[in-house]
């Protein structure tokens, strides 16, 4: 342990669970928890709610989950395919790799929303960007991501991802592990929130930053709304919904009021001793007040050096927004937030959705995210935080090797790339591979929940132990950790 965590509030490192159980409450500290427990007793004698402690010693304490909405081209980011340039303009059937379109190999696709984009693009689109080898590992990264490339020895690039939804419902799928038509299921962040106690009782434990599509805007689902991410704006003057009085109300007056509320609730407690709802309500007010007070400080960059701010690109218009989000993410992790979910390019179907003009689209968006992400990795490392902070870079699917229209690529589920860094993940490794065209993941194939399983493992959680009665999880929901990328 070589970076110091913030001093926790006067109370020592007390898990939220312990904190709330002091107040006579079950795990989630919520009536919901009590309700689930009641129901569970009826259906399964064996089930107990999570304790808030990891199931085995963890390697990572926090996760920063970066999600590029719309679908980043794997071939133009982390999985170079020179064959595309060689056969550019030819149809796939004219190449030696015609068998990629064997219908049997395409069977895993489950289309919900045939949106007229079609899914097979036959005419090969040459690579739109150059690649260089970087770092000690010599991993190739496209020229659109020079800053991430500079940190490549920290990354484990997984080039063999696949999913099944050819529409942007795949965003939901990447977060929950389930295809949209199966229903709504808790996201990875919600499971982590459900499974682990807090590292800081002044801040929410699970935070969401950035716009989310309507089909992907909740996390808790059957775990309940208490496990939804708390939406956060990078605005110290107004970071949370209802985060400050919407009518003039001095802090002094509010303080007197909150003291009174607490006193009156306690007085009612004579009539309702050991009422868990009352205790939970009192606790929730205290947490709310602390959140309201702590959040602006967490987002106040005035104490950050000019060098740091420049590192994240906050001084440049094109990466100011995302840079601020990355810097905020680092500050939140520093303060003990467990899971920070950041969406880039949310809205519409996702900004990275380059059906046309891929070069213009990806080069512009890469400019927005590359420097901030590179800065995050470098900054985490120099502060000694990377060791226990797992950074994930993901997207819902890749893009087709074939051209759409004149100069775009369509959605592509059969093979794409993600990377992870920190939190006990090996640096400078490439795992898995797609075929020569970047069409199918052919080596060490991984479904999206393998990423979940890897993260849970690093956090010390066994997802099977998190199940709740009446909600059957399938093997595919749990996924399998990827041992090859774990240090």
């Amino acid at each position: 342990m070589n970076f110091s965590r913030p001093a926790l509030p006067s109370k020592p490192a007390l898990s939220r669970r312990a904190f709330l159980s002091d107040l006579g409450m079950g795990f989630t500290g919520l009536a919901l928890g009590a309700m689930l427990e009641r129901e569970s007793r009826a259906s399964s004698a064996l089930w107990t709610p999570p304790t808030g402690l990891p199931h085995f010693p963890p390697k990572a304490r926090s996760v920063i989950w970066l999600f590029m909405n719309g679908g980043v081209s794997h071939m133009e980011s982390f999985d170079p395919k020179p064959m595309l340039s060689k056969y550019g303009g030819k149809s796939i059937s004219e190449t030696p790799f015609a068998d990629v379109q064997d219908p049997k190999k395409l069977a895993l696709e489950r289309l919900v929303v045939p949106d007229g984009n079609g899914n097979q693009r036959n005419k090969i689109f040459p690579l739109q960007v150059g690649f260089q080898k970087h770092g000690q590992s010599g991993i190739e990264v496209s020229d659109w991501f020079p800053n991430i490339a500079r940190n490549v020895d920290k990354l484990a690039v997984v080039r063999s991802m696949y999913t099944t939804d050819s529409n942007h419902g795949a965003q939901t799928q990447f977060h929950s592990g389930r295809h949209m038509v199966d229903g709504s299921f808790p996201t990875l962040g919600a499971w982590v929130h459900y499974g682990l106690g807090s590292l800081n009782d002044n801040l929410p434990q699970f935070i969401s930053i950035g716009t989310r599509e309507y089909w992907n805007n909740k996390d808790g689902h059957y775990l309940g709304p208490a496990h939804d991410a708390v939406p956060l704006r990078i605005d110290p003057s107004n970071p949370l919904d209802f985060g400050k009085p919407e009518r003039p109300f001095s802090p002094a007056a509010q303080g007197i009021g909150l003291d009174l509320v607490r006193e009156l609730n306690t007085l009612r407690g004579v009539e309702y001793p050991a009422d868990p709802m009352m205790s939970a309500r009192i606790a929730s007010y205290e947490l709310a007040f602390r959140m309201q007070r702590s959040m602006p400080e967490a987002l106040d960059f005035s104490k950050e050096s000019a060098e740091t701010k420049a590192l994240y690109g906050i001084d440049q218009p094109h990466c100011r927004d995302f840079g601020s989000q990355m810097l905020a993410a680092r500050r939140l992790v520093e303060r003990g937030v467990r899971f920070i979910q950041i969406q880039h390019g949310g809205g519409g179907a996702g900004a990275w959705d380059a059906h046309g003009g891929l070069k213009a689209n990806h080069s512009k968006l890469a400019l927005q995210v590359d420097q901030p992400i590179g800065a995050l990795l470098a900054d985490l490392e120099r502060r000694g935080m990377l060791e226990e902070t797992l950074v994930v870079f993901a997207t819902e699917f890749g893009r087709t090797p074939g051209t759409q229209g004149a100069d775009g690529r369509d959605h592509h589920i059969f093979g794409f790339s993600v990377w992870m860094a920190g939190g006990g993940i090996k640096g400078g490794v490439v795992h898995g591979a797609t075929d020569e065209l970047g069409f199918h993941a052919v080596e060490n194939r991984h479904y999206v929940t393998d990423v979940h399983a890897t993260i849970l493992q690093q956090l010390g959680l066994d997802s099977r132990k998190l199940e709740i009665p009446g909600r059957k999880r399938l093997e595919i929901d749990h996924g399998k950790p990827i041992p090859e990328i774990i240090a």
Binding site: A13, L30, A31, L32, M35, R38, E39, S43, L46, L53, F56, P57, K59, A107, R110, V112, V113, P114, G116, V181, G183, P204, Y214, G224, P225, A226, L240, D241, F242, K244, P245, E246, R247, F249, S250, A253, I256, G257, L258, D259, L260, V261, L264, N265, L267, R268, V270, E271, Y272, D275, M277, R281, S284, Y285, L287, A288, M291, G348, G470, E475
Partner: protein, 923 residues
């Protein structure tokens, strides 16, 4: 996973727990703890009470030992092998258990558990009970009205509900707490029955009067109150999955526009005490039961809500799932890919259920006064595709339909009684030709007239604008050019550079031209609609001059086409004037297209009418186009047939047959749950073998019987429940330590369980106390942008996957996808919403003013009246002291700018009470 060397003392702590936690696991394998749950999860569905494949049952150790057709499962054969272990560990796909696609393989650890248990002698308790026959499951057995038990507690109890509840006390060794105080009862009744607390007037009306004299009368008046439908309508909207439409941007993808007509039908029906069975029948099949009654057709919004633009399978799967869960408490959805693992529902049963819905589509019917379906219309179900076959999907995969067998509608064998009678329904002409509804032609005419008036108003405005521009131009001509500029800038209002009159005038003329042609178009459209309406009536009435009228209609429609293209051309001309120089070329192309279209329309209009020519009939409804075919455009039109399959009517009759064992039980359980907070059967949508048995089965059956025998009157059930002593109990825990110890979950109902108010009740109560709640009924949902200012009841707020109100979401409003019970979370965001929102601050100001005005002017009087008004409780001495102290502190902390520190302190006190736990709690 091996424990790792810890980095931190924190992990040391953790490690201690880790090893400690491991220790008990090694005490040896226990049948009940380790073996039976494993077999139950993996094997019982085929080898237990539900099925006995190969004659084998594994649900007791005795049965295990007995084995099946292929012999003993537990003892060693000659080769020293145990069959059970062989089968679960086999790698031969023909051999291994569970079979391929029927479940996950046993892990090595699980096999080891079985092995250890067998090797240790396979011991198990002697008294082990086998799984019962599914037909014996409580919810599948016919409902028999239970006899009301004799009162067991002297003097306690008000009606039969209490007789059943009282029985539980004896068995559970607990007794009822006393009745809640009058003020608590009053607030409870109001919030429960109408969703808002009593007003000051309503409180004063019963003040000082013994409870016995007002309680039941208040119940009656609240059940008759129109607010009751709004309150309980929202409950049923949860269960029936109300959702406004949503999609990507403006594209409709889910549910339907104007689905609020269904919401209004629910509320009206509840207020009218429309029988529950009737409501269910209408929601499933009003188009077959009352095919030309638009009021009743609104009910099929239940089905229209499931509409999904892109995928028929997920649409129908959701329909089957929620018809099952909502009306029957059955999880048909668990049988989509394979036979149900717990209930006697085969995979084919799932598709039989789907077959009832296979023909249905959704259309939008014209409502009186509005011909434009974008603005209003009734979305409703109809059988548009009666010929489409239903096939079973192998393993639930939609790409893998078993086309060898057409699946016909049917119900699971265990729930069949009598015969399911499916008779095609011949629809009245008004249903298949909705344009014949008497209001339809008038609605189109009314719309055209409105459009014409609007166009006239616009033209008048443009005429004035043109006159002003012309006047200015002629004045400007008289002045030197440089005189214009100072005049414009001295006006001060605009910093835009002054535009020369030479540019303004042609634009104003072109704008006027567009307006003039728009008015002409509106006139022509009206003429066209009038002529077509006349021709259509003539056709229906078989008038002799019909051919002549048809000719006039065709002509009028052509005239309108000319007017439309003329208007379009003028529009492009205006664009051309406004365009930047570099855009002019592109617009010239547009202009050419517009000119061509106009020429074409003129030519068509000049041609004589041929006998084969037709006019476009005015529509009375439109099919809501789907996109199942992935063609990037709407699927081919689905017509309005004159025959409906009658499938859904038959299904509705089966569901609402009084003999159905599930329907009334499920409904009664929901009613009880939403009054009392805890359902009698805890899994409200799962009455199958996986759900928990009811805590008071006889009470549930009695309530269900009362529901059916009262003619499915929900108000009858409300009355029974709220008039019971069980309902009227206090929720206090003071002095109840013994009962808490015996029954901490209150399963025996020895007290009332306090409830967190639902989101809508929280917001509505705040506005109601402030005297601002708008109690009006019905109409289009309030869009997000208007919600901050709106005082309408919360159930009228737009509610979909796309758009939900933040305040309501914070308090767990219904999830759009399904909400058989509300969540009752207590999270910090709720505290933030109540401490900081405008809603609460503004209400506090008004409430304080209201209380002060009604005479609570002294400090103590104010505190007392605020306590009773906001929280419905009497303030204790200690509470008054605390409030008084805070008010003093507020006055001292008041800033000089705040001129009335006393008034501020009162407002702050009300704010504090709105943040009190008991404000959001139903005691």
């Amino acid at each position: 996973m091996h424990p790792r060397i810890p980095h931190l003392p924190f992990w040391l702590l953790f490690l201690a727990g880790f090893f400690f936690g491991m220790a008990p696991g090694y005490a040896g394998v226990d049948y009940l703890k380790n073996v039976k749950p494993l077999l139950q999860e993996r094997c019982y569905s085929c080898h237990g009470g539900l099925k006995q494949k190969g004659g084998l049952r594994l649900d007791t150790a005795v049965l295990l030992r007995k084995g099946g057709e292929s012999g003993d499962a537990l003892s060693k054969d000659k080769a020293g092998k145990v069959r059970l272990l062989e089968r679960v560990s086999s790698t031969d796909p023909e051999e291994h258990m569970p079979p391929k696609h029927e479940g996950e393989r046993f892990t090595a650890a699980q096999i080891q558990i079985l092995r250890e248990w067998i090797e240790a002698g396979a011991s198990a308790p002697v008294e082990e009970k086998a799984e019962s026959d599914p037909r014996e499951h409580w919810a599948f057995r016919a409902r028999v009205r239970p006899a009301i038990p004799a009162a067991v507690l002297g003097g306690w109890g008000r009606n039969a509900v209490d007789a059943f509840v009282g029985q539980g006390y004896v068995a559970g060794g607990v007794g009822p707490v006393g009745e809640a105080p009058p003020e608590v009862l009053l607030r409870r009744l109001y919030l429960d029955l109408v969703g808002v607390p009593p007003t000051l007037k309503e409180m004063t009306a019963v003040e000082g009067i013994p409870v016995a004299e007002w309680y039941e009368a208040t119940v009656e008046s609240l059940l008759a109150d129109p607010r009751h439908g709004q309150r309980w309508g929202r409950h049923w909207m949860d269960i029936w999955r109300y959702s406004d439409w949503w999609g990507l941007g403006a594209q409709l993808r889910n549910s339907q526009k104007h689905i609020w007509h269904w919401r209004d039908w629910i509320i009206e029906s509840i207020n009218a005490d429309t029988p529950y069975d009737e409501m269910v029948r209408l929601m499933l099949a009003a188009d077959e039961i009352a095919p030309s009654d638009p009021q009743k057709l609104r009910a099929t919004g239940f089905l229209a809500r499931n509409w999904f633009l892109f995928n028929r399978n997920s649409w129908l799967e959701e329909t089957v799932e929620h018809v099952g869960k909502g009306f029957l408490g059955l999880t048909f959805n668990c049988a989509k890919c394979h036979d149900h693992k717990y209930d006697p529902i085969s995979q084919t049963d799932f598709y039989k259920m789907r077959a009832f819905f296979e023909p249905y589509h959704v259309r939008m019917d014209v409502v009186p006064g509005e011909g434009n379906l974008e603005r209003d219309g009734i979305p409703r179900a109809y059988d548009g595709a009666p010929e489409v076959a239903t096939f079973r999907f192998v393993r639930g995969e939609e790409s893998n339909a078993d086309k060898s067998v057409r699946i016909l509608p049917g119900v699971p064998a265990i729930l069949s009684f009598g015969t399911l009678a499916i008779h095609p329904v011949s629809l009245p002409v008004l249903a298949s030709q909705p344009e014949r509804q008497p209001w339809v032609l008038d609605a189109h005419l009314a719309g055209a007239k409105k459009a014409m008036e609007a166009a006239g108003v616009l033209l008048e405005k443009q005429s004035e604008k043109l006159a002003a521009a012309e006047k200015k131009a002629s004045e400007a001509k008289a002045l030197p050019v440089n005189a214009v500029i100072p005049e414009a800038s001295s006006a001060g209002a605009s910093k835009a550079p002054a535009v020369s009159p030479e540019k303004v005038l042609p634009e104003a003329r072109a704008e006027w031209k567009v307006a003039e042609l728009a008015a002409a178009l509106a006139r022509a459209e009206l003429g066209s609609i009038e002529a077509r309406a006349v021709a259509m009536r003539a056709r229906w009435d078989g008038l002799p001059n019909e051919p002549e009228l048809k000719g006039l209609a065709i002509r009028a429609e052509r005239e309108a086409a000319v007017a439309r293209t003329r208007h379009a051309a003028a529009d492009v001309a205006l664009l051309q004037i406004r365009a930047a120089p570099e855009k002019k070329a592109a617009i010239a192309t547009q202009a050419k297209t517009a000119e061509d279209a106009l020429a074409k329309a003129l030519a068509a209009n000049a041609a004589p009418v041929q006998p084969a020519d037709v006019y476009t009939s005015l529509y009375g409804a439109k099919w809501t186009p789907t996109r199942f075919l992935s063609s990037a455009k709407d699927d081919p039109d689905v017509p309005f047939p004159s025959l409906s399959t009658g499938r859904r009517k038959a299904l509705a009759e089966w569901i609402t047959d009084p003999r159905h064992p599930l329907t009334a039980r499920v409904a009664a359980n929901h009613l009880w749950a939403r009054h009392m907070g805890i359902p009698l059967a805890v899994n409200t949508f799962e009455f199958g073998r996986k759900g928990a048995a009811p805590t008071q089965p006889e009470l549930l059956d009695w309530l269900a019987s009362e529901l059916v025998e009262s003619g499915w009157s929900m108000k009858h059930l409300h009355r029974l429940i709220v008039n019971s002593a069980a309902y009227r109990m206090s929720s206090s825990l003071a002095g109840a330590e013994a009962a808490v110890a015996r029954d901490p979950d209150n399963a025996r109902l020895w007290r009332r369980t306090p409830l967190r108010l639902e989101a809508e009740a929280v917001r509505d109560s705040i506005l109601s106390l402030a005297g601002e709640l708008d109690l009006s009924h019905g109409g289009a949902s309030i869009p997000a942008a208007a919600q901050a200012e709106s005082k309408r009841r919360s159930l009228y707020f737009y509610h979909s996957n796309n758009e939900r109100n933040l305040f309501l979401t914070t308090f767990d409003e219904a999830a759009v996808k399904e909400c058989y019970r509300r969540d009752e979370s207590i999270v910090p965001q709720q505290a933030l919403a109540l401490t900081n929102s405008r809603l609460v601050h503004d209400a506090a100001l008004r409430i304080a003013g209201l209380l002060f005005k009604t005479g609570a002017t002294g400090e103590e009087a104010f505190i007392r009246s605020a306590y009773s008004y906001v929280l419905g409780i009497k303030a204790s001495g200690a509470e008054i002291v605390a409030c008084s102290r805070a008010m003093e502190a507020w006055r001292r902390a008041a800033l000089p700018a705040e001129k009335d520190a006393h008034a501020m302190a009162r407002v702050n006190l009300v704010w504090a009470l709105l943040n009190h736990n008991d404000f959001v709690t139903l005691r």
